[in-house]
């Protein structure tokens, strides 16, 4: 229930962005329906990802498995692949930064780094 509530809230926020962007209105019922479908679709994604990883004799799900979820549409696959590359290069940058940091001051991440990666993950899971 707690997870469903979080999904519902996030879907609500995303729908709001669309409302402002496209000048349409979502009824509360339609937002609820999208949330429920998203929640259930996550179960299906999770099972598929597990199977894809196992198919490659891995126990860890990686980005290649995620790309397979988008295999039915070239447009979607291209979008996800692009996002995945962005994520990979930003991870590289972070590693570089960490190397520099660890030699200088012991500290946490730079503000904003964590948020950026989470948001991108969210994008790909919502697609």
């Amino acid at each position: 229930q707690r997870l469903k509530a979080a999904v519902h809230y996030t879907v609500g926020c995303l729908c709001q962005e669309v409302e402002e962007d496209k000048d349409v209105q979502f009824s509360k019922q339609s937002i609820a329906a999208i949330s429920e479908i998203t929640f259930r679709q996550c179960e299906i994604f999770a099972k598929d990802l597990e199977m894809f990883a196992r198919h490659a004799k891995r126990t860890t799900v990686n980005t290649e498995d995620v790309k397979l979820l988008a295999r039915r549409s070239n447009s979607l696959l291209k979008y996800i692949t692009q996002k995945s590359e962005e994520l990979a290069s930003s991870n590289m940058e972070q590693k570089e930064k960490k190397k520099k940091k660890s030699s200088a001051v012991k500290g946490g991440r730079a503000p904003g780094e964590q948020e950026a990666s989470v948001t991108e993950n969210e994008d790909s899971s919502m697609a």
Partner: protein
């Protein structure tokens, strides 16, 4: 019936041709019995193309001339979709059950005015630390500030 006799005879010849394409006999049968011709007065059935609203669409296929094809609709009979339809050999998948459940949920909510039961049910469970929304968003009425 005529048709079953045709089928039997074409099965007899099955072993005689091993190419991927139809044999002349099969081609003749297909042309006469199954092929859609202009004289039939029915349109060629086509499946709808995938289109995304929010990302660039790569799949650009030439559309058949207007009115020549009948696009198969996946939504025309939505009122029939809130229950599992009969199966023959292949069971319904999880994906299919999700779809049926969603259609059922929408059917139940169709008559609700304004306030939404789904929202009422989940509101007490929302924890703001679970959600990560960038930017300054107007909070939904679901949000109870902690």
């Amino acid at each position: 019936k005529m048709l079953s006799k045709e089928r039997r005879s074409s099965q007899k010849q099955m072993h005689s041709h091993e190419s991927w394409s139809l044999s002349p006999e099969e081609l003749e049968i297909w042309d006469r019995l199954y092929r859609i011709k202009e004289s039939d007065g029915i349109k060629e059935p086509v499946l709808p193309q995938v289109q995304f609203e929010t990302i660039e669409n790569l799949e650009e296929t030439p559309k058949p001339e207007e009115g020549a094809a009948q696009e198969l609709s996946l939504s025309e009979w939505s009122l029939w979709q809130n229950q599992p339809l009969p199966t023959s050999l292949v069971d319904h998948s999880d994906r299919c059950h999700l779809f049926i459940a969603a259609m059922e949920m929408m059917e139940l909510m169709r008559h609700q005015q304004g306030d939404c039961s789904y929202e009422r049910e989940l509101r007490p469970h929302l924890r703001m630390e679970d959600v990560d929304i960038p930017g300054n968003q107007r909070h939904l009425s679901t949000a109870n500030p902690p």
